[in-house]
Amino acid sequence: MSGEWDEFNRRVEEWEAIGDLQRLALAPLLHQGFECQETDPERSLVIFTQGRDEARRLHEPWWVLFFESWRLNALTSFLEDFSRAQPLAMELMVCFNSSQAANHPERETVLTNVLETYASIDPIGYREDLERGFAYQEGRIEQGPVSARFVLNYRRRSYLCSIGRWNDAYDLAMQSLALIDQCPSTYTKTWHCAWALYQVCHICHMLGRTNELASYADQMAELSATNQQLSRTKADAHFWRAMTQCQRGDKRDASRSFRQGMRLLGNVEKRDSICANSIAAYREQEGELQAALGVRDRELVEVTQKGMFHRICQVQLERCRLLAKMDRITAADLQTARLCANQLLCPEWFLKKLDQFETSAPI
């Protein structure tokens, strides 16, 4: 990744030397866009788009590709809008593999984001292609403690989680945390470690590793407190804390942690989907199944129309599980979930899971 910034800085220095104000105005857009990724990701996308368009006007192809890569990143990482990300991902896939752009420092990031896009749309349907893609990136990206490696590992863990390979995701997470620990830059280390822990907590929850979960949540909270851009991980840490405290019977502490988490989420966009797993887990733990269902309903509204077909099915599955637990599942609920599953390339996995909630109630 250092190559990216070397090149970035070299270009900026050249413009500074000749006092090219028009071009110099491009560089700060990256910072501005990055700054509002959590609080206003749509604005962030607008700023990167502005950068791309301005770079086009100025005939700066390197910068056009640079901002295109950040646009894709905004769409995949913070907006999580894969219906918009997919055509861009494919366009950039072609662009960044052309002879003119093959050495662009953003190439690896773009390719990893292409994988993230397809893994978020339908990880089971694209499973073989994704496995091949991840294997390719494994060979391309440096094995040492560099950002590109941390991002690749993060994306791969997301993929493993979404296809239910929780143990593999856990092992990869442990390796990643050890690698991140070797990173010489405190800022980079904090950032990637907090995000790795964000996944680790969910993985531990799914694997029933409750004691570890509590400790990782504490670590995540501590790390996130050192960076203002880590509101989401900070909030998530409080929700997982609340869940584990509730599990131990510390209801008052749990309630306090939960409220702290909600306060932190106040300024973050997309608050109904980003911490849905931890919030719903806490609600369920405290016996508030209706509230847990509400979390999933709101999550559903948010992820619909963003091309996340797999996630929609996951949420539908969770809804059905909660409804079954409440003894309220209807054939209509199952029918809706099945319709969603049928939008996937390989719906069998979800359909089989839904069969276990089979009900005799009329649709």
């Binding site: 028009q22 502005q50 006007r57 896939m93 091949r132 390719y136």
Partner: protein, 604 residues
């Protein structure tokens, strides 16, 4: 059983924090000393009224001894005051004096700046040793000295006249202050509006303005001059004077004292340059140079300078607290700016037009984010069209409630020509924010509809039955074209070529696969993408023969030999393909040009 405790102070640690870590820059240290000097002059004027009194602050530097001195002819300090105020952290005479004056002499109290009683400590940010020579009207000259630790020395001084001189033995990191130019900059940055004259190195001319431009007799001219001097920019496009405001709380009204001005800078060489920042003063002393939160988020084409005593500075006074007062000031600013812009658009449309021209990219972009601002500017932002810049009402007069626009540059010439053929200009919406702006506009105006030309020319190309053109269609198909007859304008355009929206992307993906450019690990995904768009991949473009075109009609009616007809059609079709500008790379263009030329030769 519980116990009660009491916090302890660790003086060396506290002093170090306050003196060295509270402020972000050493420049602020000079500001604090000037402010103390100013408050001392106000105090003398209040407590020892004398019509002949001329307050004055002198800042001097001595590179040889590496010292900087700030001297005033204010009230000076007695021994008791030194013990009660100067050496007590957190207690300041100014705050107590302000509270005392607030009831009877509120105007005077407003001139006092100090608040926290810690500003003097900033001297130790700059200096390793500080000496204060002071003489009060009712006291003897005193000399106070400290190296910034817990100890200080107080002894008889030698100052002959009333006032105070603070002498700093500068630390190596503060030696930049020994350059007179730097000192002038600092004084002008922080204390330009402080009424007490500040003289540097004994200069006869004062270094600070003393009076803010908005209080000059011709405020607008003074503000414009100030902008040119302070922001080193061109003449601003517009200046708006600010006034005290009030907020209706329902049960009560909240008054917000506010002075200053906002301005719209001249068009930047950088079209995406955003401003939206305010220089904030409190009682004439600069707090921050560039607050980004006080102006409404959409006002990124506006800058300003305000003085507002309602704002609460932080202890270092380098920022303001974002509290209820902050929100109130924000509201008042948004209100005055909104009203100012509405008035401007109504009364001085020429000026508003200049603003909208100069900052249109920023204005269009932010209008999409803020409904109120959108309503304010929707009718007056000029957009680029094939007939120059037009506002939407101007545009709609010619287009009859339909907005024709094109979002890409590639192939847009044909789209624009087709629009012009129907006697309507096409809006250039290639700047990313323009399509969203148009969409908002159509949502607000029910009768307005949008026609995006790049993906769908149906609104301009009216399909017609094959009828008389059947033979021509067949001849074109023999040449390998997919053909649809249509009627469109301009009538002298015989044919146009159209492609699906994703045509280039799919073509590029296919050729990248064919050329082996896509790594093996990703070829499956790209292959899948192409397969999902089979129909786009198979679409080689559609040639629309213009049934309204006299040339096409003559060709359809004439009995010239078929070979000549086909050659004429080939010239037409290849011309349309080249004119369309899409799906052309250099080799394809060369090929089509060759075909066009050969067809032309056949005719000749």
């Amino acid at each position: 059983m519980g116990t009660q405790g009491r916090f302890q102070l660790h003086m060396p640690g506290l002093l170090k924090v306050l003196a060295e870590h509270l402020y972000s820059t050493q420049r602020v240290g000079v500001r604090e000393l000037i402010q103390n000097a100013h408050d001392s002059c106000i105090r003398r004027a209040v407590e020892q009224p004398d019509l002949g009194y001329q307050p004055r602050i002198d800042v001097t530097i001595d590179p040889a001894s590496q010292t900087l001195s700030v001297a005033d002819n204010g009230s000076g300090l007695t021994e008791e005051e030194i013990h009660t105020y100067l050496t007590v952290i957190g207690r300041g005479y100014t705050r107590e004096l302000r509270e005392r004056l607030a009831a009877d002499e509120s105007n005077v109290s407003q001139e006092l700046i100090g608040q926290f009683g810690i500003g003097f400590l900033s001297a130790f940010l700059l200096a390793s040793e500080v000496t204060v020579e002071t003489r009060s009207l009712h006291g003897v000259p005193l000399r106070w000295q400290s190296a910034g630790d817990e100890q200080f020395d107080l002894m008889p001084g030698s100052r002959p006249d009333i006032g105070t001189t603070v002498e700093l033995h500068l630390k190596p990191s503060s030696l930049f202050l020994l350059h007179e130019r730097n000192l002038v900059n600092i004084v002008q940055q922080y204390a330009d509006f402080v009424p007490t004259p500040i003289h540097i190195q004994g200069s006869f001319e004062r270094a600070n303005l003393g009076v803010p431009p908005w209080e000059e007799p011709d405020a607008e001219v003074a503000c414009r001059q100030y902008v040119k001097r302070r922001f080193e920019g061109a003449e601003p496009l517009w200046v708006l004077s600010l006034a005290n405001g009030s907020i209706d709380l329902g049960h009560d009204t909240l008054s917000v004292p506010l002075k200053g001005f906002l301005f719209v800078p001249a068009e930047s060489v950088v079209s995406i340059k955003e401003y939206g920042n305010l220089a904030v003063y409190i009682r004439g002393m600069a707090i921050c140079d560039s607050d980004k939160d006080l102006l409404p988020s959409w006002a990124r084409f506006v800058q300003g300078v305000i003085d507002c005593p309602a704002l609460q500075p932080t202890a270092s006074r380098e920022a303001v607290h974002q509290d209820d007062s902050f929100d109130a000031v924000r509201e008042v600013l948004a209100d005055q700016l909104g009203r100012g812009l509405r008035d401007l658009a109504r009364k001085r449309p020429d000026v508003w037009r200049k603003i909208a021209y100069g900052h249109s990219d920023v204005i269009v972009g932010w209008a999409c984010k803020d409904a109120d601002f959108f309503r304010l500017v929707a009718d007056s932002v000029p957009l680029k069209t094939s007939r120059g810049r037009l506002t939407l009402p101007e545009y709609l007069k010619t287009s009859g409630n339909v907005i024709y626009y094109t979002t890409r540059e590639l192939g847009s010439l044909q789209d624009k020509l087709l629009a012009e053929g129907r006697d309507v200009p096409a809006i250039d919406a290639s700047w990313f924010a323009v399509p969203a702006f148009l969409k908002h506009y159509a949502e607000l105006h029910q009768r307005v509809t949008l026609a995006r030309l790049d993906d769908d020319l149906n609104s301009l190309l009216r399909p017609v039955p094959f009828g008389e053109l059947s033979e021509l269609v067949l001849l074109c198909e023999e040449l390998g074209f997919t053909v649809r007859p249509a009627s469109f304008k301009p009538t002298d355009l015989p044919a146009v070529m159209t492609y699906p929206a994703e045509a280039e992307a799919v073509r590029d993906a296919i050729s990248a696969l064919d050329d082996g450019l896509i790594p093996d690990g990703f070829s499956g995904l790209v292959q899948g993408y192409v397969e999902d768009r089979r129909s786009v991949a198979a679409d080689a473009g559609t040639l629309h023969l213009n049934a309204n075109c006299p040339l096409i009609r003559r060709l359809a009616d004439s009995d010239v030999p078929t070979a000549r007809k086909q050659a004429a059609l080939a010239v037409t079709a290849y011309f349309a393909k080249l004119f369309c500008g899409r799906m052309l790379d250099a080799s394809q263009a060369a090929l089509d040009l060759g075909n066009w030329q050969r067809s032309l030769e056949k005719l000749v």
